[in-house]
């Protein structure tokens, strides 16, 4: 028996794949590796997620800021007994580097992969860098699923030994422009071989339901597991910022109102006039409401046909995952 796990009817046999295939509503989380060589920070964040999620996404130089690599962080997660979903962007690596790193990632025990285009480096801390974009996210999905299913490298050469087998995901931004094309771009990812999809943050459930209606019409929900992206808001300012500045995120006024309402006991007071205790109390009240909104969103999203799970993005606020998952009635996680 080799280390090849493609047995028992699973493509890969990762926990995430088994959970989805069993029909359980899946929960994935996200962990942003540190901007230092501090492996303990990863271990501490992992401890907050352990048991509450089926897989943990490890970002790949998120927002083009240098961090511990997703595969290195994933190795720590494997050691800690969590299942990583390694993210791989097309920004920093060409087809040689991506394939080489994935061979290594598989050898190190990683089984889930999310293929991404990647934020432009202009947003990060090395805006003068040369980017790569040798292939795009859709071509990456095809490349890695061909490595798995056809036992071929991108150039067409066949594997002689063990092939890397990844349960392969891609992202979808249902509300980015041109909005009419988004379901078709999702279809391209499915046709490229994607097994699961994690979406951009959803706050507007009605708009997402419309997107899903088109997805069902195209039969895509039967070919791919769709995990809706959710994330707790920390403040009304964060909600307004995302609505205004982040492409592809819709935040309805109703949600901004709820966040405002949470801080109402302190309304009319400038931050400079508030005591430390008052600021702390207001922040706590807002964060609790942010978590409650997230729970409400999960429950609404769960009702939409074709939504196979949620991807909880609580970057730099990993403590929120436990109350969210518990509050949404998704704890304990089923064993598969």
């Amino acid at each position: 028996m080799t280390t090849n796990e493609s047995t028992n009817g699973y493509l890969v046999g990762s926990k995430l794949e088994r959970m989805l295939k069993a029909g359980h509503f899946a929960v994935t989380g996200e962990l942003g590796p540190p901007q230092s060589a501090d492996g303990d920070e990863i271990r501490e964040k992992a401890a907050l997620l352990k048991g509450y999620v089926d897989g943990v996404n490890l970002t790949d130089n998120q927002t083009a800021i240098v961090r511990i690599s997703s595969i290195a962080a994933g190795t720590i997660l494997v050691q800690e007994g969590l299942e990583p979903v390694i993210q791989m962007t097309a920004r920093d690596r060409n087809r040689l580097a991506i394939q080489a790193d994935l061979l290594g990632a598989y050898a190190l025990g990683m089984r889930n992969l999310l293929c991404l285009t990647g934020d432009h480096q202009i947003f990060g801390n090395h805006p003068t860098a040369k980017h790569v974009f040798d292939i795009d996210s859709i071509q990456m999905v095809k490349m890695v699923t061909d490595m798995r299913d056809e036992k071929k490298f991108q150039c067409g050469d066949e594997f002689k030994g063990i092939e890397p087998r990844f349960f392969t995901g891609a992202a979808s931004a249902p509300f980015a422009d041109p909005i009419d094309f988004r379901p078709y771009r999702l279809a391209k990812k499915v046709n490229a071989g994607a097994n699961f999809i994690q979406t951009q943050l959803v706050y507007d459930v009605d708009a997402f339901a419309q997107f899903m209606e088109k997805v069902r019409e195209m039969g895509l929900h039967e070919k791919v597991y769709i995990l809706a992206g959710v994330g707790p808001l920390k403040s009304p300012g964060m909600a307004r910022y995302m609505k205004k500045n982040v492409p592809g995120i819709l935040v309805p006024d109703e949600i901004i109102d709820r966040m405002n309402e949470a801080g109402k006991p302190w309304a009319g007071k400038k931050s400079s006039e508030m005591t430390k205790e008052e600021k702390r109390a207001r922040s706590k009240a807002r964060r609790e409401e942010g978590i409650q909104i997230c729970i409400d969103l999960i429950q609404q999203l769960r009702e939409i046909e074709g939504v196979a799970g949620v991807h909880v993005m609580a970057i730099e606020w990993e403590e929120a995952v436990k109350p969210i998952v518990e509050g949404a009635g998704l704890y304990p996680r089923p064993s598969v």
Partner: protein, 227 residues
């Protein structure tokens, strides 16, 4: 056409060093059309250099000449004498012109006065935009005549990414999203089918990634007499 912009004067002065005789060489083609390195700019730059070096206390002797095309040997031959007399040649052609002078007159020291920026076109008076990256394998036939290599910030062949909003790119509200343009154009022509199929990884060997490129047209080559 090739577009270019003049380097800052301080940088140019730095490149010229302490030489005494400077020849500014303009080019009558692309850089004339984009108002960066034609006859008029050559005269202006020569005059600026004379003035500023005089003020600095070590005046340079700066003259100027403009040829029709700096990228062809025959036009360069016309200015051989001027080039040979100069201590340093300041070429305000594109990077090709600068290299042509260095290659054609190995004894001369040539420095660039422009930054060659891109292959593009003037979209309106005073504005130039990039349109082509000379990848050597044109994809415009499937993208409705809009280049995703040059105009998408990530050169995506299966765009748009999630950063497209209100018609512009995530990097800057003034940069149109190439894939929104492609989508609109194909939708208008009832040709969206063209981008529903997955475009496979591009063969970049025809671009610079394959090494410096060369075209050989045997049909145009002059026959050499056998000795």
């Amino acid at each position: 056409m090739i577009t270019a912009e003049q380097k800052p004067l301080d940088e140019i002065k730095n490149l010229l060093g302490n030489e005494e005789k400077v020849l500014v060489v303009g080019c009558g083609t692309c850089v004339t059309v984009c108002f960066a390195g034609g006859d008029r700019e050559a005269q202006l730059l020569a005059s600026s250099l004379r003035m500023t070096t005089k003020l600095d206390g070590h005046p340079m002797e700066v003259s100027d000449v403009t040829v029709q095309r700096q990228c062809e040997w025959e036009y360069l031959d016309e200015i051989e004498d001027e080039i040979m007399e100069a201590d340093v040649v300041l070429s305000i052609a594109c990077g090709i012109g600068v290299q042509a002078i260095a290659e054609h007159f190995p004894e001369c020291w040539v420095v660039p006065g422009l930054n060659t920026t891109f292959l593009g076109l003037p979209t309106e008076q005073g504005i130039w935009e990039e349109r082509c990256m000379a990848c050597g394998n044109c994809v415009l036939g499937v993208t409705g005549g809009i280049c995703p290599i040059a105009r998408c910030s990530k050169s995506l062949l299966n765009g748009p990414c999630g950063g497209s909003e209100d018609g512009h790119c995530e990097i800057d509200a003034d940069v149109p999203c190439a894939w929104q343009l492609i989508y609109d154009r194909l939708a208008g022509k009832d040709q969206l089918d063209l981008i529903l199929e997955i475009d496979p990884p591009k063969d970049w060997s025809t671009a610079h990634d394959g090494g410096p490129r060369k075209i050989v047209r045997e049909d145009l080559q002059l026959e050499t007499e056998e000795s």
